[in-house]
Symmetry: C2
Subunit: 330 residues, 2 copies
Amino acid sequence: MATIKDVAKLAGVSIATVSNVLNGGRYVSPELRSAVLQAVRTLGYVPNGVAQSLRSRKTQTLGLIVPDITNPFFSGLVQALERSARDRGYQMLLCNSEENAELEFDLALALASRQVDGLIVIPTQDSPEYLRKLKADGLPVVLLDRIGGEDDLDRVGVDNFQAARVGTEFLIRQGHREILLLVSTLELSNIRDRAEGYRQALAAAGIPQDPQWVIECGKDAPSLEAVLEAIQHHRPTAIFASTNRLSLLAIQAIRRLKLGFPEEISLLGFDDFEWSTLLEPYLSAVVQPIEALGFQAAQILLDRLKGDTSPPKRVLLPCDLAVRQSVQRR
Amino acid sequence: MATIKDVAKLAGVSIATVSNVLNGGRYVSPELRSAVLQAVRTLGYVPNGVAQSLRSRKTQTLGLIVPDITNPFFSGLVQALERSARDRGYQMLLCNSEENAELEFDLALALASRQVDGLIVIPTQDSPEYLRKLKADGLPVVLLDRIGGEDDLDRVGVDNFQAARVGTEFLIRQGHREILLLVSTLELSNIRDRAEGYRQALAAAGIPQDPQWVIECGKDAPSLEAVLEAIQHHRPTAIFASTNRLSLLAIQAIRRLKLGFPEEISLLGFDDFEWSTLLEPYLSAVVQPIEALGFQAAQILLDRLKGDTSPPKRVLLPCDLAVRQSVQRR
DNA sequence: GTGAAAGCGCTAACAG
DNA sequence: CTGTTAGCGCTTTCAC
C-alpha cells in the first residue's frame, strides 16, 4: 500500500503538501495540487485511517452493543443507527452481547480500547455501573431501549409505562377484564414499567388484580410452558404480550390449546415487524418508533462528539397503537 | 487516559518492560513484573488499540458489508459471523449497503482505508470487479451468499441449483404440475441458479415449461402486484417462493385472492426463521444452513489472515428441505 | 534481564 | 505558499 510519502515523492512535493491538498488544510498552488492528485491516482493511494486516528485522536467509529441482532426490533435499531452514523461519516463496530452481562462488559472494554469515539449500548441489565466509569473516563455513552435506573447517562427509549397503559386500556375498552400480561423478565425496568402501566390501567377501570396474572417467561429463551399453564389456569379472554418474542409464544400457546382466535381469546402484541403479517388474524400491537429511537440515539451521541456538554438527556418517545384484527370485542 | 509511558514512570521501568509484561514478549523479572501490573491497576491502564494497530499493521477488525441487516437471513449470518470473529479476537465493522452497488463500493473503500484485516461481503451484484482489486492490493476478501461469477475470490454459499431442484421435485412428488416460481431478480446468479434448478426438475418430470411462470418481483421492494397478477393469470396449484421475503408476498397474495390455503394452493418457501411459525399452516421450506454459512466464511477469512495462501476456495453448502404443512398433496 | 530509540503513517505547528 | 519536524502510543530491534 502506498503511503503519503510515496505520493509526496512521486509528486515532487513534501508530505505536508500532500496532506493539505487531501484535507484542504491550507492553500496549495494549482500546479502542485494537480501534481499531487495525479500521483494519488497513479498510486491508488488511500490514506491510512489508523494513522489518521492515532494522530487526530478520533476514530470516526462508534461502538454498538446489542443483546441479539437477530431480533427484528434490535436489527431495526441497528439499521437506523448505522444509517445515521454513516450519514455523518462514522462507522460502526457491532457487538452482540447475547444477553450476557459479563460478555457485554468485556465487549465494552474492548471497544474502548479500540478508541471508539462513542458507545451506544442496549444493556443486558439496568444502567450498568461500568458504563458510568467509561463515561467518567471521557467516553460518551448513550443507553438505548433499556434505560432503567436514575442515570447520569444519556438515554433514549420509549415511554413504556404509557404504552402499556394505553394498550391495556384498549383491551379494556374492547370489553376484556381478564387480561394476562406476558413479560420477559421483571428485572428490566422497562419491562417493569410495562407491567406497571398494565396495572394502573386495570386499577383505573376498577378491575381487581392478581400478581399471578403477570407471567414471567424468561429473557433469552422464553418458555412456552409458562404461557400454556397460565392460560389454562386463568382462562383469560385476552393476552397482552409485552415483547415481540412473547407474541410468538402466545400464538403458539393459543394454537396448542386449540382456542378460537380471536373469538375465544384476543392477543395484543408489542412491536410491529414485517413478518407479523404472516399471522392471521393480523396482530394488533403497541408499536415502538424504531427508526426514531435509533436516530435519536445517534443524534445525541454525535452531538456529544461535537462538544455538547449539556446535562445528561433523557428522551422518551411515545408508542402507537396499531389496531388490527387480533383483538376482538367482548 | 493513561498511556504506556505513565505506567512505565509509575512502575519505575522502561516502556519496553511494560510492553513486555503485557504482551509476554520476553522474560521480565518477577519484581518488575509485579510493579508494572500494580501500576497498570492503579492507573486503570488500557492499551491504545489504534497505536497497537498502527505499529503492528493489524487491526484485529473485519469489515462486513450486508445488503439489509433487517432481513432475518442476513441478520442470522451477521450473528454467526460476529460470534466466530469474536471467538478469535476480532471485532466487526458492520455496513449496510442497502442493495446499492455504488454505496457498497464506497463502504468497501472506507473499510479498506480503515485497515480492516479482511472483508466479508454479501454483494449487491455478482462478483464486483472492485473486490478483485482490493484483494490484489493485499486485502483478503470472502464473498458470502451471493457468489456468482467465475471468481478468483474465496466464496461460500449454498448450492442453489440443487436446493431449488429438490424443492421443486418435492412439489412435483406431491402431485403439483402447475408451479409458479417467484424470484427476486434474475440478475443475481444465485437466483438464476434457483430458477435453473426449478426448470430442470420440471424437465426431468416431463412437465412443459413456460418462462412466464417465473415471476421477477424485484430485489429490494418486491411487488405484490406482480404476484397477484401471475396467480390470477396462471392459476397455479403451487407457488415456490425462492426467497423469504417472497414467501411473505405469496401469503399476502393468497389471502388477497381468498384462495384456500393450502387446499387450493400450496406454498413452498425458502429459508426458515423464527417468525415463520406465525404462519398457519406452517411453512414448508428449503432451508439454508445459516450458522454454517457464517461460520465457514469467517473460518476461511481467518485462515487467510493466518497466512493460508492456497488457491481461492469455493464452499457450497447443501440445503435441507423442511416438510411442514403449507404444501398439500394433490 | 532491561533500557534507549527507531519508526508505523499521518497532521499540524513551526520555519522560512 | 511550501517544507521540515515533532509526536500521537505502541512494539521491537539494538545495545548494554
